[in-house]
Subunit: 224 residues, 2 copies
């Protein structure tokens, strides 16, 4: 029997009601919900479908204590029932992963020999020429954060709170969790059920302050 799990909260409400949870209740996330969140998170897109994201899922108390020591002692890291260490693996730019992506495409029906040949040529060129990024660290973070946003929004739509954190020392995290040199730690993401005190909303800049029209710096005119 397959049970179809549907989100209980609509997208707009999920986006608008989400706050970074600074404290979590001890309540566990039901395994079926957790897996569904993890699955939806990696439906995120990536350039050439390379999927450089990798996540370490912490559920053991000892692991979370170890992470807390690498995260300026912030308590949400040990309180949350699940904590993701969100990483991007630079090695996914290499031949082995390119071939894995081609195989995946064949299985999904979205790959043919012409496209495969194109990918074998175009992907190494992208990383040699880097027209759209300076460092591989930028490239891994760019993609991993797309997936992190998918995870956060999917979680919220199932009533699961999260707390995206950049308060960590990457060198320590990498050492503590046997993360290879070529892998970047992009953020931490505790998941669970928020406890009080809830963080207050800090506000957002107005649409006309962050969206420009046709050229950089020219405020967008909003007329509805």
């Amino acid at each position: 029997m397959t049970i179809e799990i549907q989100p209980s909260i609509n997208l707009k409400t999920a986006i608008e009601s989400r706050r970074a949870a600074r404290s979590f209740k001890p309540d566990l996330i039901p395994p079926a919900i957790l897996i569904e969140i993890l699955r939806l998170g990696v439906r995120s897109p990536s350039g050439y479908n390379l999927q450089p994201w990798r996540f370490i899922v912490l559920q053991d108390a000892a692991s979370k204590e170890k992470l807390k020591a690498c995260a300026f002692d912030q308590r949400q890291v040990v309180e949350a029932p699940v904590v993701l260490i969100c990483c991007g693996d630079r090695r996914t730019t290499q031949t082995e992963n390119i071939e894995a992506v081609i195989e995946l495409g064949k299985a999904a029906g979205g790959m043919n020999d012409n496209l495969a040949s194109y990918l074998r040529q175009a992907i190494p060129q992208l990383f040699e020429n880097r027209p759209c990024f300076e460092s591989l660290e930028t490239w891994t973070n760019r993609h991993t954060m797309l997936a992190v946003a998918h995870l956060m929004i999917a979680a919220q739509s199932f009533g699961v709170d999260s707390c995206p954190m950049e308060g960590f020392a990457a060198v320590k995290v990498k050492e503590a969790f046997q993360i290879p040199e070529e892998v970047d730690v992009c953020c931490l993401l505790p998941l669970g059920y928020a406890a009080e005190p809830f963080k207050q909303y800090g506000g957002r800049f107005d649409v006309t302050q962050v969206y420009y029209s046709e050229n950089y710096g020219k405020p967008l005119q909003v007329e509805i």
Copy 2:
């Protein structure tokens, strides 16, 4: 009169049905829907609420032609009714923006003098010490891509297709759209209504291939 606009597509369906659109119909996005997508996009979180994302909204045919010449001549850039040039501004790390964020928090009710003092000290320290990133380019991309994912998912939930693109030459885009030196171009995001041919699904690695348990490289055991 305020009209409340609600998404027509649920979150799970929006995430699962989204494909990068390689071709767009000429149909325009209704202005009220477009503004709602833009507004929800920047409800994305950011470290210390600094909101480094900035977007140039292209709607003029001439602007889109100009962008196409910087984007390896890809046709979706001129076909889509709206194209976002998604940027991250490194200058948002500076005092002027920190003070703007503090003012924003005061207006939203989520700021007090202690927190303001803390931010004035902690934010410059973060960018001096950089415990969790190597380059400012990484930091701007990290945040901007969170917002890009919010934009994509919000768009899809209103039935608006998108095409996240890293096929562009950043140097050319910056020159063509008067983007300052300190601003990074993170991706392009055409928005509109997909035309055939639709791109086929390339597949995704299994949850057990990209999620690890407790340490890097140890596959997650999925038991439901």
